[in-house]
Structure formats: C-alpha cells, structure tokens
C-alpha cells in the first residue's frame, strides 16, 4: 500500500488531490485567521473555502500522477531517468490511466476521454430535449435547465470537440511527418492530464450549493459575476482546458516545424498537418484571452474586483470583446482540424489527388488571419460602438471565401474519381459537405447585420451552431475516427454498423436542427426553459429526432467497443493510402519507425504512375528514387 502511494500512479494521484485540497483549504483558513476574518463564513459568491481547493486539488492530482516528476527531479538536481522509455507504449488498459509520454497512447487517452464527455454532454442534451418537448415545465425546473444547457455547451466545446482533434492529431500527426514522437513528450502527457481536470470541474459544479453554472457557456458578465458558486467551477475548468490546448498547440507547432522527415517540405505536408499547423497558430494566440477573461470574472467574484461591475466603473461590454476575441477563433479551432481530416478521407477514398492542394493550404492560412478580425459579429446587438459592425460584417462575409475554396476543391477532387462509398469514413465526409455548407449559409446570413439583428439570440443561432459544430465538426470527427480506427487499434470496425450509425445520425441531425431555424426566425428565443405554445409542435418533432440522434450514438459506441475487442485484424494499409502513417504496421511499432523515412513526393499522388510519397526504411536501396513530384504541380 505504502509502495503504491510512493510511485507515480493513480493511488498517489488521488492522495495528491486530497493533500492538495487540504492545503488549499488550510491556506484559506490560515489567511482568514491571520487577517481576523470569520474563519468559516462563506461570502455570497466568493466561497474561498471551495475555490482555492478547486485550484490546488487538481494540481495535487497531477503531481501525484507523476506529471511533474521528471521536472521536479531535474530542478532539484536529483538523478533523473532520462530515456529508459519506461513511459512509452501501453501493455494493458491499466497503462492508459498512468502518466505516459508516448504520443500514440496519449492520442488514445485524449480520444477516449473526449468521447466520455461527449456521451455525458449528449445525455444532458437528451434531458433538455425532454423538457423542451412540450411548453411548460415537466422534467426540470428553470434553474436546473439553465445549468444543463450551460454544462452541455462547456463539455462539448472545451472537453470534447477541441481536445478530440488534439487527440486524433496526437496519434497520426507525428506518424504522418515521419517523426518518432512529439517534440515535447512530457509536456504532451501533462497536456492530456489537464483535460479530465477541466471536465471533472465542470461536472462537479452540479453538486455544489446553487447548482451547476447557469450563465451559458458564454458566461456573460454581470450575470456570471453574480451567479452562485457553480460559476467558479466554470472559470477554473476553462483554465485547465485552455492550458491543455495551449501546451498542445505549442507542441504541434514545434513538432511540425522541426521534426519533419527529410524531404518533407511544406508543399508535401498532408493537409491534416497543414490544418493542425493553422489551428495551433490560432490556439496559442487566442486561448490566453479566454483564460484572462475568466480570471477577471473569478476575481470579480472571489476578490471583489470591479472589472465588470458597471456601478463601480467596470465595463460590461468589455467582457464580450475579450471573450469573443478568443471564442470566434475558437470556432475555427473546432473546424480547421476537421477540414484536414476531410481532405485525407476524401482523397484516399476517392483515389484522387486533392484538387488545388496549394490553394487548400493557403485557404487555411487565410482563415487563420481573417478569423482574428471578425469577433464582434457576435455583438451586433450588444450595445457596442456601432461603426465596428460594418468592417466586422465585411470580414465575416469574406471568411466564407476561403471556406468556399475548400468545399469547391473537395468537389473538384470527387469529380472524375473512383468513389468508394461503402466506407463509413467517406459517408461522413460527404455528409459533412451537405450539412456544413448549410451551416455556412446560415453563418453568412448571421454575418449580415440587419438579418443578425432579427435572429441573434434565437433558435436560428442554435440551429446554426449545431449545423457547423455537429454537422461540421462532429461529422469530421466521426470520419476521422472511422478512417484511422484500423491504424489506432489494429482492428477493423464493422462497416454495416458504421452505415447504420451514419444514416441514423444524418436523419436525426437534420430532423432535430433544421426546424430550429424556422422557430427561431418566427420568434423563439434561445436558452429558454419554457416557450410560447405556438412552438409546441415543432419542439416535439425536434425532441423526437434528437432522441433518434442520441440513440444513433449508442450504435457507434457498440461498434467501437466490440470492434476494438473482437474485430478482424487490420492490415497495415486497408485504404491503400499514400501518407506515411499507413506504411507502418497497425498499430504502429512503439517508436514508429526503426529509421526515419525519406519523403520524395506529394502526399496524394493517386493515379500518378510510379509516384511515391515516402520511401520507408528497409526498402531504400532497391527502390529507385523516382522523380520528385510536388502536390499541386500540373501534370
């Protein structure tokens, strides 16, 4: 027992959380005693006795788990265990609950954890749709309802969509560029373990006095600054999720820039790598803004500062500017990696090079730049200075151009292809085009100030966000999971169940989210526990399709679990893809490559006689190096 508590691992982590929590609590008690405050009285919103342990306990957990062991030893001058590779690879499922430095293990940890929160967030959505199936109050009271939609969004955004892309890229990106691992494996491990901290903090808020945070995932001040204790758990959870994604983004940037295999120049990068490069540029520069603004809210709540207290000189609209300066780029953080996945899937399963590869890469960079210049389109009715609406409208509409380039390039790729429709990954990729373009069109409508004035804060916005986040991001996630499932698990999934999943998901999502446009335009505001009786019929329809959508995900869950355990063994390259991750075994060897591969051509040279993307170790001498080709050159 004592030995288990001494070595890094889950027992020591739980002990660390207890000790961390106790230290935090003790610090508050001691400071209050010293300063002569009543020791156990909790202020209306400050609750230092809970907030401080809310910071220290997760750190205790991370330290106990061993995330900092190497750095602490190094800093203390103690002997470190540099590269005995003991933290690489996973031999049993226990290893997934430990601190690990292997990018493939971390990738799986990310994906499974994110899907756990996806199912929790989805269950919350089911409760909301049950309540909304009829006008009036049936299932949950308005206070609980506000907590439900807030946690639903926080879970889906911060601990599902954003991190699962980091997970997929963690697994395949180093393999794709021919790297043995990420640039900073220990930081990578820490990045992952901060993620469950965020999710647990969000969920813990259900069990504190006053209930879960209920000011929306946007947490607008001053509603959030005056909210009960649960709001602080949102403020803190965002810090852990944000720190996790910033560290991962730095890791991706350094990995992509410095660890490409010889010959892998930027015009030979697979588009998934381009997409994660772009995403990381957004994350490192934008995420600190939401971290900052949530700290400001926390300080207003816990320390009595007045950043957003208008009667004490604070500025309420400033919250929204800082928040959206992150949160608009965040929608591209949630979309660009998906664009990368779609490019891989469409090219591979239609056996054609990506049409206009270079413009595709440049479009990503265009989106990155433009996405920093559009944040105030969330604030057209917020009472901000009014001239800003026109330039923000123009940039918002212009961002449709690079996005359109991507759609047209995919369509160009499909034209004249050999289209393998039986693959579930491809079905989700094609479904993505249908649904995401609809989300894009409603996005352009929302970008037009006069239309936005009418529909902002209505169900039209709910419909739009679900078309781009579910029909967009989640469809790309499913495409990516199905595409790389054989590589990650070494097993094939059941295509028949995959097709059932796709069709049920598509029907459910269309039925649930299309009518939301209509009721929103007709006058149903969003974030309401109750609504006027005229919308009753449509809401019942929406709820029924939402339940279908929820049930469809159980098919996915069953398929993944059973296939992972019992599916037929996967060959190294079931899709006959060209990129490097498919040239190694499924799953890949523990250090990816015995020797670094040589890259000699573009990543999607389907149909080009004799063209190769990479020459793998062991086949070097006898394979004649063909004329280098670069994606995007005309043939």
């Amino acid at each position: 027992m004592a030995a288990a508590l001494k070595k890094p691992g889950m027992p020591r982590a739980l002990l660390g959380a207890l000790v961390g929590g106790a230290l935090g609590f003790g610090l508050v008690v001691a400071l209050r005693a010293i300063s002569g405050l009543p020791i156990f009285q909790t202020e209306a919103t400050g609750y230092p006795h809970v907030v401080v342990p809310g910071i220290s306990a997760p750190f205790g957990f991370l330290i106990g788990l061993g995330c900092f062991d190497y750095w602490f030893r190094w800093a203390a001058g103690a002997p470190t265990v540099p590269e005995d590779h003991s933290q690489h690879g996973a031999r049993s499922w226990h290893d997934y609950f430990k601190f690990n430095t292997d990018h493939k293990v971390i990738g799986i940890q990310y994906i499974v954890t994110s899907f756990f929160f996806f199912f929790v967030g989805g269950a919350i959505a089911m409760v909301m749709r049950a309540e909304l199936a009829q006008p009036g109050t049936q299932v949950v009271d308005p206070s609980t309802f506000n907590g439900l939609f807030s946690t639903h969004a926080a879970l889906m955004i911060f601990v599902f969509v954003i991190p699962i892309f980091a997970g997929i890229a963690n697994y395949v990106l180093p393999l794709m560029i021919g790297a043995p691992d990420m640039a900073f494996p220990r930081l990578n491990g820490l990045s992952f373990w901060m993620l469950p901290m965020a999710g647990i903090l969000f969920l813990t808020s259900f069990f504190v006095p006053g209930g879960a945070f209920d000011a929306g995932w946007t947490g607008y001040a001053p509603l959030s600054t005056g909210a009960p204790l649960g709001q602080s758990f949102f403020n803190l959870g965002v810090q852990f999720a944000g720190a996790s994604s910033v560290a991962t983004a730095l890791n991706f940037l350094v990995t992509i820039i410095t660890m490409r295999a010889p010959g892998m120049n930027f015009w030979r990068l697979p588009l998934l790598v381009w997409a994660n490069l772009s995403t990381s540029l957004l994350v490192v520069a934008a995420t600190p803004f939401i971290a900052g603004v949530q700290f400001m809210v926390l300080f207003d709540r816990a320390l009595g500062t007045n950043f957003f207290q208008s009667d004490a000189g604070g500025d309420v609209v400033a919250y929204q500017h800082i928040f959206w300066f992150y949160s608009h780029p965040a929608v591209y953080i949630m979309m660009l990696p998906g664009f990368g996945i779609i490019s891989e899937v469409i090219s591979t399963h239609s056996r054609k090079p990506i049409f206009g590869y270079r413009l595709m890469a440049l479009a990503l960079i265009g989106i990155v730049i433009l996405s920093y210049t559009v944040w105030a389109h969330h604030m057209f009715v917020s009472g901000m200075f009014s001239w800003l609406r026109i330039p923000m409208m123009i940039t918002t509409l212009l961002i449709a151009v690079p996005t359109g380039i991507k759609i047209f390039s995919w369509l160009g790729t499909l034209f004249g292809s050999v289209l393998h429709l039986y693959s579930t990954a491809m079905l989700f990729a094609l479904g993505f085009i249908v649904t995401f373009v609809m989300g894009g069109i409603s996005g352009v409508m929302l970008g037009m100030v006069p239309l936005d004035i009418h529909v902002s804060d209505t169900y039209f916005v709910v419909a739009h966000i679900h078309f781009v986040l579910f029909g967009g991001s989640v469809f790309t996630i499913f495409a990516g999971i199905y595409h790389w499932f054989p590589k990650m698990t070494g097993r094939m999934y059941d295509e028949k169940l995959g097709r059932v999943h796709f069709w049920l998901t598509s029907v459910g999502m269309m039925g649930a989210f299309v009518p939301m446009h209509w009721i929103g335009m007709e006058g149903m505001p969003r974030r309401v526990a109750d609504y006027s009786a005229q919308f009753g019929d449509w809401n019942l329809v929406i709820s029924c399709f939402a339940f279908l959508l929820g049930a469809a995900q159980l098919v996915f869950l069953y398929n993944m679990i059973v296939s992972w355990r019992f599916g037929p063994r996967a060959p190294a390259n079931p899709w006959r893809a060209k990129t490097i991750e498919w040239q190694v075994s499924s799953p890949p060897p523990i250090f990816n490559f015995p020797e670094v591969p040589r890259v000699v051509g573009g990543p999607y040279e389907f149909g080009v006689p004799g063209a190769r993307h990479a020459i793998m170790p062991g086949e070097g001498a006898e394979v004649r190096e063909p004329e280098p080709t670069i994606a995007g050159t005309r043939t």
Partner: protein
Amino acid sequence: MTRATLARLFAAMLVLTVVISVVMVQIDWNGTAGSEEADDIDRLLDVMIVLSAFVYSIVLVMLGYSIWRYRAKPGDESDGEPIHGNTRLEIAWTVIPTVIVLFGAAYSWVILDDIEARQPDRLQVDVTAQQFAWKFEYPDADVTSTELHVPVDRQVEFSMQALDVIHSFWVPEWRVKKDLVPGLTTHVVATPDREGSYSLICTELCGIGHSTMRAPVVVESQDDFDAWLAKQAKAQGGKQPGGGAVEEPSQEAQQGESIFTEQGCSGCHTLAAAGSTADIGPNLDEVLPKRSAAEIHQSIIDPNAQISPGFGASIMPQEFGDSLSDKQLDTLVDYLMSSVQGGK
C-alpha cells in the same frame, strides 16, 4: 467529360436554384411583419435565399453527380485521374464568391442605414429592464407602465437601461433587437405599421426567469394611444400627490401593487390580488399567510435567510434592500400582508 455533360450539369444547377428559390421565397420565414424595418429585413432575406440556393445547388448537383457517376464497384482497385488542379477554375471560385459576399455586405449596409435612420417626429420611450420585468416610461407625458403602448405608423425610439444584468429587447414582428446593458443607455428604433397585440421578449439570458421575461405590446391608432396615455397620466397623477394629502387605504394598496409589478415581483411570484400567476418563486398566496411582517420584510431584502421548500438559494435578486426606499418597502410589506389576509 464532354461539353454537353457540363452544360447539362449547369442546367441542373439552374433548375434546382429556381425551384429552391421559388419555394422558399413563398414562405414568410420571419412570421408576421409588423414594422417598416421588418419589410426591409425580409427583402434582404429573400435576396439571400436566392443567392444561397444558387450556391447550395452547385454543391448538391456536383456532389450528387459525382456519387452517381463515379461510384466505385466493390473490388475496384483502380485510381482516379491524377488531376492536381486547374488554375482558372481555382481563380473563378475565389473571385466569384468574393463578389457575391461583397454584394451582400453592401446591400446589408444600405438596409442597415435605412432601418436605423431617425425620423424627426419620433416618439420617445424609456425602457428599464431588471430581473425579470420590463418598465416603460413616456417622458413627454410623465407616465410609467408595465405594458408597452405605441401608436401605429410613427417611429419610436427606445432609450434603454438595465438595472442588474444584460437583457435584450426584441419584438419578433418588428425584427429589431438591442441589448440593455448595465452602465450604458442603448437605443433602438422601430416604426410599427400594423395594429395589434404583440410580445416583447427578453432574448439575452438573464437568469432563472429569463424564459418568462416578457411584456405585452399594443400597437394602436394615434387616437387610441393618446387616450390610453391620458388615462394613465390621470391614474398616476392621482397616485402620486405632490403634497401631504391623506392617503386612502385603497390608494396605499394601489401603490403597493404598482411596486409589486414594477419591481418585477409579479414576474416570478403568484399573487392573486395582483393578478400574477408566475411560478419561478414561491406562490405568495400560499407561503405568506404564515409569516409576520418582519419575516416578509426580511425575505425581501435578504431572500436567502429563509428558503421555501422546493426552491434553490439565490434564485431571487438580493438587492431589493438597496433599490427600494424604506417607505417603499413598508408599503410593499403592508400590501402583501393585506393581500394575502384578504384572501383568507
């Protein structure tokens, strides 16, 4: 692929565009239009529908054609044509969408200027929002109301303030919306052109009672509006005597009731005497008869001191102790005591 195929695909896109546009333009997506601004915004929506139908038709036709024409048979291991791109096509699908969206932006700008232009003869109404109630003041007539009455065919400018958190002013039939922000005065104009009864809806999440934070809106002829305003002025003039006139008990009750509705109590609590039926907070007809005046007083200024079973803490705003004067508080407590005893 032949020129004829391309022509047929293009024809299919055009037909689909026309079909989608014709069907979708027929429908009044935004519901009844009740203001001049609404007509402008609905026209912009129709233009957008046609443009979007064109773009979506391109996508659907190309996708559908590819799936139909290039679908691989099982076991087909061949590759597609190694086409890497086409510079002219890529330039086209960069430039054409740019032109379309810039046109959309320009048209939106024109419409925005149009719907926000101020008319010299506009009526001024001050709006105050708090959790979870609306209050309207007509500064010219010195009238305060919890119902919004406006004359038809005359521009109204709303000058708006929020007392606690952000709220948002929206009458769907007018299509205009603006947030009410603590610390700012925001403005919005509307020109109602259709008589009738509507709802003012709060569209910015403002707390537990957000979904029920509404106010009745009446658009009526100028004559009816003037009559209503005069009636209100008379009633309120009687209620707020300038000097030390002896107040009748009924007047005190009236004063209590107006505090009860204007402060938003009726937005959350049921009280038969005031005709309110909300159920966000405890039903006052049920909980108050057991309470003393001191307890009621405490529950107003410190709602968490004693919480009715079935309701969470901090649901009720905490700042009534600051926002109400002592005299108002006493009036309100007396009113509540007499209201519920009357019901017994």
